[in-house]
Symmetry: C2
Subunit: 212 residues, 2 copies
């Protein structure tokens, strides 16, 4: 498995760590136990995919007790988010998208998505994720499964139109291409146009994908 870039370097540090470390009442294991679990999770996601990977299997791979995995990570979703160095919780994004009027779905998606990546750190993370996904079919598979289950499926469910899954996935393609052009390839004028203009442009287009 290729763990270069975003899936490797950044997952064990930063804000995400402080939210789960330091919980009282259980033995935290050795100093690098958390890192070992993340490494085992990446291996397991790569070998078996997101769906077939279980917390128990990750624990076995990391040679620790499953309870210790739960000490550091609430769920398989959380392990995935940290293992792939995604800077936000996709489930929160999904919740934010779903909550509100249906005819403003497109605008909410544009706002939520761009809000995550506009910072310098977000752009660096996005570059690293693109590099990992493009250079490794396995990373591509993990991302595909994780994003499908955590964002595309929940949003598809509330949409309640024929072809909802295809529609939401087409929204994802617009966002992937926009991120690639704005943050990675720096294709002008998309790369430097202000955020408000971009949201004004994208909102109706995403809405048409969803309900047009």
């Amino acid at each position: 498995m290729n763990t270069r870039g975003g899936s490797g370097g950044t997952a064990e540090s930063g804000a995400a760590h402080t939210t789960t470390a330091g919980r009282a009442g259980r033995r935290p294991g050795g100093p690098d136990t958390r890192g070992e679990i993340l490494r085992a999770a990446r291996e397991s996601f790569a070998d078996k995919g997101f769906t077939a990977t279980s917390i128990r299997a990750i624990a076995r791979e990391a040679a620790v007790d499953a309870a210790l995995v739960h000490h550091y990570f609430d769920s398989k979703d959380e392990l995935f988010i940290e293992a792939m160095a995604i800077p936000v919780d996709p489930r929160q994004i999904a919740a934010r998208i779903i909550d509100g009027p249906r005819d403003e779905l497109g605008r909410r998606i544009a706002t939520a998505f761009l809000g995550v990546w506009e910072s310098a750190e977000g752009q660096q993370r996005m570059k690293a994720i693109f590099r990992s996904v493009v250079s490794s079919d396995e990373v591509a598979r993990i991302m595909r499964e994780g994003i499908t289950q955590m964002i595309i499926q929940p949003v598809s469910k509330v949409l309640d139109v024929p072809d909802a899954h295809l529609r939401v996935t087409l929204v994802a393609t617009q966002l992937i291409g926009l991120a690639m052009a704005r943050y990675l390839v720096e294709l002008e004028p998309v790369a430097s146009v202000d955020l408000a203009t971009l949201i004004d442009r994208l909102g109706p287009v995403l809405q048409l994908h969803l309900t047009g």
Copy 2:
């Protein structure tokens, strides 16, 4: 410069070669002169970008006469297309897009774009191009400049609306994301949906980007 993948391996062989080789009346140089010129072109595009590169500079870099470069390649555009292993001539695509009713622009773009990449060979080329672009900032810059000048600018000119350049570039982002999802990441159901359905979905969305 990184010339892995599509920009390196495939440019010197295949159909593109047979269209320019074998022209009578001039000395063709050594057996690998054409390859040397392509290598020099890639170097020069990488060092100076597409705009600042000239046929003369490429000839100097390849240590051949400029007339010999013209023997193999009609123009700098053609050198770019072959050096980057693009399977079609973007100028022909631009012409096909421009020619027709304005309110069917979106559909013509979807049809022209997908027509190029749907073959197994097209998909392989697209993968190689993505890998080159994502792994090298220089390849990204060359592609950005070349595609902007050969497709985005000519289509923007005929569009004749405010923000035409931004609108056409946003169309490009949708197509980039679609290609990444369908050919590289294989995100379902976009990866396997039939072409007609995809064109039906994309046409109106691209049209909204352009004239909405």
